[in-house]
């Protein structure tokens, strides 16, 4: 079964909006794509379509947050991260304002639109901002619980979501901010994934089992704060780590993990992600394969990594 995170996002805004009259939603002329428009149809007084002007949107939300309201800003991840970088850094994060930054169409998921619309640097940028919680959701069922958790935090939260329908994982529990979830136990290698690559990592673990490799798979969707304890416990057992993300290998999840491991428990590491290049248009799955983000690439790198132990 598959479901798109954006559909879950539209539904979640609506259900939370019914309970919380301080929830306000802003979108930059992509509300039919991100599905935030569903909220706008029911709550027009609390919905602001600001046009294609992400910078202004981010700061408007900051102003609303100072008045005790809870704004969610919604647009494509690449444009939030790059067109409103200064606003997110200098206004939202510097002042620790509780704005939820909902980046849709993340990674390569706006596949046909090409490199201009594909977000492969948002995690690197967002992760470097003090006060900001950074999350990459792995399935539609994470969306509402994570939004609810984010609304409990007295500070800004960046939530990265995929455009396309993706597998429902039937995890025991949804993503919890600050916690890694062990989705599969193993003793030979730790594969830490986030976002849409989590099901790929699970598929790779199946493939690896046939090769006699027992892979432990972690959902590391809480990129910041990162669950150091679970991470270190896992690599203490497996002795190597492979990061998997729909993002550049520079500055994203792999870098976040490396920053922890190099200090506390250096082990052989490798990275699955976009290898410091621009991507292109195409159907989503073949595009991901071309840039090395699929279960086969994960398995291949995992085998290479276990040989280095």
């Amino acid at each position: 079964m598959e479901k798109a995170m954006r559909d879950a996002f539209g539904e979640a805004l609506l259900s939370i909006g019914k309970e919380n009259d301080r929830l306000v939603v802003l979108d930059a002329d992509v509300s039919s794509s991100t599905r935030s428009g569903k909220f706008g149809q029911v709550f027009p007084d609390r919905f602001f379509n600001v046009g294609v002007a992400e910078a202004n949107m981010a700061d408007m939300a900051a102003g609303m947050a100072t008045c005790g309201y809870r704004p969610v800003i919604s647009a494509f991840a690449i444009f939030l991260a790059l067109k409103s970088t200064d606003q997110i850094r200098n206004v939202i994060c510097y002042n620790n304002l509780p704005v939820i930054i909902a980046g849709g169409y993340a990674g390569l998921s706006d596949s046909f639109d090409g490199a201009s619309h594909q977000s492969i640097t948002d995690l690197a940028i967002m992760r470097s901002f003090p006060n900001l919680t950074v999350l990459a959701l792995s399935e539609a069922d994470d969306v509402e619980p994570v939004l609810r958790q984010a609304l409990e935090i007295d500070g800004p939260v960046y939530i990265r979501m995929c455009r396309n329908a993706s597998p429902v994982l039937n995890k025991k529990e949804p993503l919890t901010i600050g916690r890694a979830q062990v989705l599969r136990s193993g003793s030979h290698i730790t594969i830490g994934a986030c976002g849409i690559t989590v099901p790929m990592a699970l598929a790779a673990a199946e493939e690896l089992e046939g090769e006699g490799v027992e892979a432990e798979v972690l959902d590391l969707g809480s990129i910041k704060p990162l669950d150091r304890e679970t991470l270190l416990e896992s690599v203490s057992k497996t002795g190597c780590f492979l990061s998997v993300e729909e993002h550049s290998v520079l500055g994203g999840l792999g870098s976040a993990v490396a920053e922890v491991l190099v200090k506390s428990r250096p082990v052989p590491m490798d990275f699955v992600g976009v290898d410091d290049c621009f991507t292109e248009s195409g159907p989503y799955e073949p595009l991901m394969e071309k840039y090395g983000i699929d279960s086969k690439s994960i398995s291949r790198k995992a085998l290479g990594l276990t040989a280095r132990k």
Binding site: F48, G51, A55, N56, D59, T66, C67, N90
Partner: protein
Amino acid sequence: MQTVKLSNMELQAQAQRFRIDVLKTLHDKQTGHWGGSASVADILTYLYFERMNIRVEDPLWEDRDRLILSKGHASPMLYAVLEGRGFLEAGTLSSFRDLNSSIQGHPCMNKTPGVEMSTGALGHGLSVGLGMSLISRMRDNSFYTYVIVGEGCLNEGQSWEAIMAAGKFAPEKLVLLVDYNKVQLDGTAEEIMPLDPLADKFRAFNWNVPERSFDGHNMDSIEESFKWLDSQTTGPSVIIFDTVKGKGVSFMENSNAWHGAPVGDDHFEKALPELTEQLARWEKK
């Protein structure tokens, strides 16, 4: 704390005292921006001592009027006014830009009581103010949001996104105040990035714009501008104040060299008497 109502001449003198405080501070610290601080002194003084509905004893009162100094480099003047109004303890200004100080180089809302929004990177203020004013509208227009910009802010593309969006959403109690001194860091606005016809630009974006500009160094004129504002039944509104960068010190006026240059001993000794002599003239009236 309730201030006694001041006459316009007393407000004029008060603003001049703030200029003197700021000049002394910038001389002591050898850092900070004189030009834009001097040009905004009278507007800030009028707002905090006459116009705004605020409670010094409760700086975060929900229905307070908001003031965003988008041209955050004029922070020393904002701090002088906040100290004069009682938001900051007496003597706070003397820690300007010091390590561990509560008053940063540019305004920081989480360190300084009375500062509504951290600014410094130019162009943010109007967007933030638009967000605040839309919340005010949801709350029965319970407060005004004033945003002060200079030319630098209006050079930033984001300001025009906000001007466009404010025209669309039309919050009744959003007020943009332009400290229009027509000098930037590198030269005159005419040389760096001409903004005229500025009033027409706002009209084209569906703002309320007075028929004329006002003298931002004359309290009677500033008072008149707010009378015009109070006659408006819709929003947003903009008031363009003709001001002089570095106002009050003859050799610093209208000069981009005094945008942010440190005030050395020679210049300080020549500048201070000019400010104090003018103050004495106003105090006598």
